[in-house]
Homo-oligomer: 312 residues x 2
């Protein structure tokens, strides 16, 4: 059993907690306590990629390809499905509601006249709709950000632990693209690597698999959904099944880099067959996002899980 | 002389041009031709970090720490100093004018009522000022974006070549944080590296120094300013001087990772002593940015260069 491997403990001993950690944990604690009192469901949505610094005075780092599309859109749909959401995201990655402004030019939407600054007529509908949605949900949304792998893992552990108070009302939706490899702090050079030294060899260690302690120790009662991103279709279902068998959590969502916006595979520990979600061409025409369907599907599974696990 | 080293040519042979390259080159060409007709100065401002993919179907990449603060603020000051600006920037890094909205919550600035969507009274002044500045300068600003090291180098070469028509009216301000190391396409694995393979060893090659062909072949008449970022103060001035001696361009701006927003050193090929620019505490209180002073200083040097090099 993966828990006997102590490497996850060593990771936390060797990598210091992030700046502002206690303040963040207090925010999370209060958010969970209030939700628990109201018997509200809470989804932890992790989103974006983690960085792995190559130098202690960091100039260079390894990053994972992730804009945060999956996480930020899913967070919106969880909010709309009645969940409160802790959005644990990579700093400057996409955020719920704000993501719709990316690529839009806000200064072209604003009309400046000598006595007034106004939203241009043709942008009022779109901007108003988004602002209204955001304003309606903002009290149910707690935004917490990270940059490095180590920051992320510290915050993940703490959030999962704070969510214990919610029992089976808690759902963990682990959409962040977490690095598999890192350079331990003790092996990092202090200063920027000089290019005059010629070609560069980097030796990266495996990141301990945190799903093992997460499922068993940090969030033993929560409904846990993880993602498996591959680029090779032949490995997808096998890898997703393997992850579920290894960590004993609830759902693995498998997706391919090139088709992840239109096709995913859900593997559930409670059912023998994988379920596919695929956007049809009419879905695409109507602007339906696959995360809407994923969240809708997960909510039903979470309902069942809650019915099976609630006490009293 | 560095030009005899053919490695920069080999780089372009081995790394294909980016998607949309010709469209971008056409935009740049037209922008430069129109500026040349009006005898306007044009600054090429490069900004943000370059990525180095570790896999061909890219999931992981090495990145350079850079939000694009230096480049995006400098671009504003060049515009205000009367330059037209080509802003060659990392996709999603900070942009002139828009950078001021980062960390601001646009949905909190908007007031939604049943019959109107408006800018809140207390945000009108700030938003109006920015929108007005942007709208005044937008025709003098050409935005071109890149992600990878290879995309950046292709676009840098092409832009420099198109700027030749401007002769000494052209200024190149190379503030992008360009990777020193990369993995040649031929040595990249096709699919995502599997973590089941154990620890990962990466072997990175040196990126050819493009300043050599840039100064000599691509932009022989432009006024060229490069940056040198270090984390070790004792290396700063030596490294800046070395760069100037090696490439024979005009100014190197040396800066340290930790003090780069308040202190830089300018080394000029025409003067024996380095010049320091340092923000005073009253500058900081008044919201003066160091890029304002850098651009002011460079404009004087460019004036002199132009006077010495213009023909006819």
């Amino acid at each position: 059993m993966a828990l006997e491997d102590p490497s996850w403990k060593i990771f936390f001993e060797e990598n210091p907690m992030p700046i502002g950690f206690h303040e963040n944990v207090n925010l999370i604690k209060e958010f969970c306590q209030q939700a628990a009192m109201k018997k509200n469901r809470v989804a932890l949505v992790t989103s974006g990629g983690t960085t792995v610094p190559l130098e202690q005075n960091t100039v260079r780092f390894i990053d994972n390809f992730s804009a945060g599309t999956r996480g930020s859109s899913s967070a919106e749909y969880f909010l709309e499905a009645g969940y409160q959401v802790i959005f644990l995201h990579r700093s400057k990655s996409l955020e719920p509601y704000f993501r719709h402004l990316v690529g839009k030019n806000i200064f072209e939407m604003i009309e400046v006249s000598p006595d007034n600054v106004a939203v241009g007529k043709k942008h009022q509908l779109e901007l108003g709709k988004l602002a209204e949605k955001y304003q309606r949900h903002r009290c149910d949304l707690l935004m917490i950000s990270f940059s490095t792998l180590s920051d992320y893992l510290w915050l993940l552990q703490a959030t999962a632990q704070q969510m214990q108070i919610l029992g089976p009302l808690a759902l963990l939706y682990l959409a962040a693209a977490v690095s598999d490899f890192y350079i331990p702090a003790s092996q990092m050079p202090c200063h920027k690597i000089q290019s005059s030294g010629g070609p560069l060899s980097l030796s990266l260690q495996l990141v301990p698999k945190m799903l093992a302690p997460l499922v068993t120790l940090w969030a033993p009662n929560a409904f846990i959904v993880s993602f498996k991103l591959e680029t090779n279709e032949t490995l997808l279902e096998t890898k997703s099944n393997e992850a579920l068998l290894k960590y004993h959590h609830h759902v693995v969502i498998g997706n391919l880099l090139n088709s992840r916006k239109v096709h995913v595979v859900l593997v559930d520990s409670n059912s023998p067959n994988a379920e596919e979600i695929r956007l049809s061409s009419s879905d695409l025409e109507n602007g339906i996002e696959i995360e809407f369907k994923i969240v809708e599907n997960l909510k039903i599974r979470h309902d069942q899980y809650y019915a099976d696990h609630k006490t009293g």
